[in-house]
Structures are given as C-alpha cells and as structure tokens.
C-alpha cells in the first residue's frame, strides 16, 4: 500500500457534496512552508501583518502532511525538483500548486542556465501561475483569489491530472533527474 503501488484513481463523488466541500477547501488553504527560490522572500510580507494572508484563511504549515498548497517560488533547480516532487507527493489530496514568477513559466532570466528548468508544467501540474519577477504580495494574493475561485468551481484538478498521467510526468522527471533515487510512488 505504501510506496509500492500506483495511486488509486479518484472515484466519482456526489456533486452536491463536492460543492460544499470545495467551498470549505477554498476558504482554508494551508500552504507548505517551503521556499524553492528567490520568490520565497515575497511570502514573508505576505504572511506578516502588512498584507496578512490569514484574513483569507491562508496559513503556513510546517509539514506537507498538513498542507494543501505548494508554492513553487521562483526558479527551480533540478536538484530542488527532486525535493519538490517528494514534498508534493506527500501532500494529502486534494492538493494545488501555485507557481510564482516568470522563471516557472518559461525560464525567465535563467532560460539558458544549465540547472534551472524552463517549463514547470512538464514536471508538476500547476493550477495557477502568477507572473512577475518577483510578483509583489498583491499579485500573489490575486493569484490565491483566482485559485479559490477555481476550487469553488471545481476547476482546480491538477492533482487528478497528475495521478491519471503519472507515467507522462515520471518520464519527464526522470529525463532531467539523472540520479533518480526516490521511491517510485511516495504518497
């Protein structure tokens, strides 16, 4: 069951029940406190008193097991991608990814770097991209409000896409992580 089986495909849920739970999910987004790049510096003003993201129900959690959202903040090196995959797969369903900055969209200013990847959604399912280099806290709040609307409408299905297309994502991940030493499935 643990670490040696493919993920179970998410079954069909009752629609009305899903709508109610989605509203609850959207208003209590808990974020893994894990900064991957320079954009993590913009999260500090966001969760302290000036911008205060807790008024939207967004809180920082110390472990991925308690969180729903993973923020990819800025450039992502191949070495970090390994850790990010590990963290992402340990988050309980449903889970969402918010990607900050132009580096995650097309490489940004590191487009020709030898160890930062250019297109993030080949490796992980991204629900919301926030553009900017770096995005201001207002822009990140805007991105989160978009994520909340997407969850309420049932359109934030990146985690389902990841489970259903695991082979595609794994193939891409293994292409750039040449010394793959993770367990194949760590849920």
């Amino acid at each position: 069951m643990y670490c040696n089986q493919r993920p179970e495909k998410p079954g069909n849920k009752i629609e009305v029940f899903e709508k109610i739970t989605n509203m609850a999910r959207a208003n209590s987004l808990w974020v893994t406190a894990y900064g991957t790049g320079c954009g993590a510096i913009e999260l500090r003003p966001l969760h302290t008193s000036r911008f205060d993201m807790e008024r939207f129900g967004i809180a920082m959690r110390p472990t991925p097991r308690q969180a729903d959202v993973l923020i990819i903040s800025g450039y992502l090196a191949t070495k970090t991608l390994k850790r990010v995959i590990r963290v992402y797969e340990q988050i309980q369903d449903p889970k969402y990814i918010v990607a900050l900055g132009s580096c995650t969209i097309n490489g940004g200013m590191y487009f020709d770097s030898y160890n930062t990847l250019n297109v993030l959604d080949k490796y992980l399912p991204v629900d919301v991209y926030v553009m900017g280099c770096m995005p201001r806290p207002e822009a990140i709040i805007d991105g989160f409000s978009l994520l909340m609307r997407k969850i309420k409408d049932g359109r934030a299905q990146g985690w389902k896409h990841y489970k259903e297309n695991l082979d595609y994502y794994r193939e891409n991940q293994k292409k750039i992580i040449t010394d793959w030493d993770l367990p194949d499935y760590n849920w």
Binding site: N106, S113, I177
Partner: protein, 189 residues
Amino acid sequence: MIDKVMKDLEIRFPLLQLVREQHNYLHVKVDKASAIDAVLMAKTSLGFKTLQLISTVDRLEENRFQMTWILENYGTTSILLISADFPREDCIVPSLSDIWPAASAFEREIFEMFGVSFPGNPREGEDFLLEGWKDIPPMRRDFDSEEYSMRVFGERQPREHTDPRQYIGDIVGEWNTPMGAKRARKEKK
C-alpha cells in the same frame, strides 16, 4: 610588513609577476611547480594563516587555468594572492585539504565546475552542487549553456495567436468583474 613579505618571496621563488594592489594587498604570480610551496611558506613563515578562497579562471584562448589562492594575515590585516597557471587538459593541482580542512569544499566545487582534479582530497568526486552531472563541467567556457538548456529542459511553445481573449479572456470575464461573471453564466446556459 608587506615589504618584508615581498623580499622573502622574491628570495625563495622565481616570481613571474608581482603587483602591489594596495598598501596591505599583494598579488604574486609564480610558476606551477612552486605554487604549493609558496602557499605553504606563506602559511608557515609569513603568518598568512587563513585561507579565504581558492578560485579558478578559465583562460580558454591561452589554453590554461589560472588558479588563485587567497590568504589572509589577521594580525596585520594583509592579504596575499598567490596565482599560478596550469594546463587546461587533465589539469591536476595538489590538494591543500590536510592543511586547511576548509580547502576541501573549495576543491570539490572546482572539481565539479571546471574538472580540475585535486589528488589528496579525501572527498574528491563527491557531489557538491550538482547531482548526477554527466556532461562536461558547466563552468568551462567551451560548455554551451544555452544549447544544453534547450536540449535538456526545452522551451515553452509560443502562442499561436496574439489575441489575449483566447488565453486570458475567460479568466478576466469569469472571475474579475461582476458583468463578466454574468456573461459567463449566460454563455454556459
């Protein structure tokens, strides 16, 4: 202080170049055979007991690596740079990690980034910054970083149209304005 250091080094080693950058800042260039001896002498008898940095510059046109050891004497706050040229192919430089343990980290980084080998370093070849790197070392100047990036990581495909409505239209319409939300609901029906 630096005057005495200059004299001592001139007596012991054939100096190729000697530049006094500031009143307490000396740059010395020696040949590759006496580089390590000069560093050791600076430590043992001239009082430069702290290793600040080991750095490498890739002089591709002249086919050489310029190694530099930066030493500091805290007592007199003076800095000594000792540099030497090594051939670029199969570059081998003696390790200093048993004299300064901190040198081990610098040497591992240089091994990974330039491919300079340091025999004598007990942790040589261990991963430092890159994991599972299989190409030529990335800081060498004949390594084409952009070509590597395009080959391994790929590029995002550019958009086919320039009409923003096709890409962000539904988001702007649906989410951000009440009118847009109404319109989207109508279109759904």
